[in-house]
């Protein structure tokens, strides 16, 4: 890539199918795309595979990309769809959060008022939420991403994100209440 190349030129070359431009964009954005995906799927190995899948989809869709729009936002939407497909492809019964938790950070200062059993039940109930609701709730409540960023990344309105989070919380609360837990 020439040293003085403008990003706009790079985006236009990518839209025309230039592989060097695609590689340059890949190297600029692979880390951010991976971080976005790992927040959603909470599994580093799956996130790596999905990052590759995302860029494969990006390459395949290059002709539909509008260089006047943000590449990062477009890439995030494609990454969100890839992550959603991944979550949908896994039967909910086998989505044992215990498997995921071992790949994830444990709470550094766990609240002594919340037992390990309660954590496990909550994680399991959360893992059984419909994937679309789970993604919105993960990003909003756990990762604390701003609503407008979640909306942009999922390709929906901010209001729709809030609605999904609201529904996720309602379902989660009912599920826990059925198990005798009063959250």
């Amino acid at each position: 890539m020439p040293a003085l190349e403008q990003p706009r030129d790079l985006l236009q070359r990518f839209a025309h199918g230039d592989v060097d431009a695609f590689e340059a964009l890949f190297r600029q954005h692979q880390g951010e795309v991976y971080r976005w995906i790992v927040r959603i799927v909470r599994d580093p190995a799956a996130a790596e595979d999905l990052t590759v899948e995302t860029f494969w989809r990006i390459h395949r869709a290059h002709a539909r990309y509008d260089p006047s729009r943000s590449f990062e936002a477009w890439a995030r939407r494609i990454a969100s769809n890839a992550a959603l497909d991944h979550l949908r492809s896994r039967p909910r019964e086998t989505e044992l959060p215990d498997d995921l938790v071992q790949n994830l950070p444990q709470s550094e200062q766990p609240d002594p008022g919340i037992s390990q059993e309660l954590r496990r039940k909550t994680a399991r109930a959360f893992g059984r939420l419909p994937p679309k609701l789970r993604i919105a709730a993960t990003l909003a409540l756990i990762e604390e991403q701003p609503y407008h960023e979640i909306a942009e990344g999922l390709g929906i309105s901010t209001g729709a994100v809030k609605l999904r989070v609201f529904r996720a919380v309602r379902i989660l609360r009912k599920t826990l209440q059925r198990q005798g837990i009063e959250p």
Binding site: G31, Y34, R35, T51, L118, T122, E143, L172, P183
Partner: protein, 80 residues
């Protein structure tokens, strides 16, 4: 008051969730550990030889047509 209660309930759920599934943001595994370009290139190479399903369907239709009407073969060859 109701709104206050709802917010308190939501805050309790949020806290419970963060205890059960801590955020990945600052965890080392949340950062990419290796370059994924070689894997992406392999993926692109694999798909470059893939044939779309409708091409296979078209080929099957032509073969079936030629099997049913064998006298159409010279006509097809003439037009190729």
């Amino acid at each position: 008051m109701i709104r206050h209660d709802m917010n308190t309930d939501d805050e309790r759920i949020r806290r419970l969730l963060k205890e059960a599934l801590p955020p990945t943001s600052d965890h080392p595994k949340a950062k990419l550990q290796r370059d994924l370009w070689p894997a992406t290139l392999r993926r692109l190479d694999q798909t470059s030889v893939a044939v779309p399903w409708f091409d296979w369907a078209l080929l099957a239709a032509v073969v079936a047509w030629l099997a049913i009407f064998p006298r159409a073969i010279p006509v097809l060859l003439y037009h190729l």
